[in-house]
Subunit: 243 residues, 2 copies
């Protein structure tokens, strides 16, 4: 068991963190990082508590791990500039820089579809080749995390996978989710495929294999080998009947 | 004369600021913003002094102007993250937000070729359609300014022109500048064409009409009507003979 990779999950108490923790616990050893909410450890999990806006805290969190899943941050689409500055921009710099200093070669960065949110507001599909069009400070801060990740990959050789996560939900709730849903197990799959991928850098949309999707998932499929197991279409009749 | 637009130039004591001030003073009324170095006012110039990392200072600086040329920031390619955070990321947010609050409809944002610097390091041409590849914190911070500008344009209707400025020099110095040079008068032209342009948002490379360029200037030509007057090739024999 000890030859399994040790993976740090930041933001481990968040909605994605809780699911990824359960989904990866048999594949990796886990170090879970919390900020305010601290969940009890299971089995051989390691736990760290702290605020990633402090580089020293980030360094302690990453020391000795093989890979980082960086989920921590302000996840609100309408977050203020000031909050995204501290919780997303500074914290993400601290994670990359701590990883570089401690020789951690892999970071999965939780980006968001909101880096291209204005295409959706304009009724347009989006791909990672299209220029950034954030729909708020949140999306802009995640675009910064992608850009900075590219720099850390180019300059320092870290492998960094940016997942533009869609609507992470147990099941689709609204009509929009028929396009944007990312199921729990598909999210877990994207995480481990990202960790195991040898590519130095990628930005991919992370959604399930939804028939109605308007974001390109060919990158996730071709670069990471992602094979989505879920499709929001299974919920279409029920959701469209309710709306 | 009083029907001329009032234009705020931030970073007015910088190398670009000094040239743009001289080049635009007959076309516009100018408000010059300084931080540390303060130059004496000429004629009817207005002067403000302050640090743009303070939103209230930014609001006082922009109140009543018709357009903003935002040059202030840490211009060093190897600037630290912390310096780019305060001087580039926060200051640029403050400029956009102050412009929005005071109804200023136009911002010229001094971006940089270093948002795509790793293409150049890899020997590749670059265009604004290509994904961001910064060569440092400086380039990443300017990419953030572009992304945030797109948001302010999409959401609030400001017209924001991002100039990815090349090597701003009186004349080319080194072989690289034969591709990357932006002459003084071509820079001034880009500024006023940006101010007069009705387009809601654009990112364009700002260099002279250099025969050896590897950055696409068709955007500046087609979107802004830019007609470069200079071409670094005029200095090629001399420079190549010296190197």
């Amino acid at each position: 068991m000890s030859d399994r990779k040790l993976v740090l999950i930041t933001g481990a108490a968040g909605s994605i963190g809780r699911v990824v923790r359960e989904g990866l616990k048999d594949r990796y050893r886990l170090r879970l990082m919390y900020h305010r909410t601290v969940l009890p450890a299971q089995d051989d999990e390691e736990v760290v508590v702290g605020n990633l806006s402090d580089l020293e805290v980030a360094e302690r969190a990453v020391a000795g791990v093989d890979a980082i899943i960086h989920l921590a941050g302000d996840p609100k689409v309408e977050a203020t500039f000031q909050s995204t500055l501290e919780n997303n921009i500074v914290a993400t710099y601290n994670i990359y820089e701590a990883a570089r200093r401690h020789g951690v070669g892999k970071v999965i960065f939780a980006s968001t579809n909101h880096v291209s949110g204005y295409y959706e507001l304009d009724g347009m599909p989006a791909s990672v080749e299209m220029p950034i069009r954030p729909d708020g400070y949140y999306g802009a801060s995640k675009a910064y995390g992608e850009a900075l990740g590219r720099f850390y990959s180019d300059r320092y050789g870290l492998s960094i996978i940016c997942l533009r996560i869609g609507s992470f939900l147990e099941r689709p709730r609204h009509a929009r989710n028929l396009a944007t849903w990312l199921s729990h197990r598909d999210c877990v799959q994207l995480m481990w495929r990202g960790i195991e991928s040898p590519v130095p850098f990628a930005i991919v949309y992370g959604i399930s294999g939804n028939d109605r999707r308007y974001w390109d998932i060919s990158g996730a499929q071709q670069i990471l080998g992602y094979e989505p197991e879920d499709n929001a279409e299974a919920y279409a009749k029920e959701i469209m009947g309710n709306e």
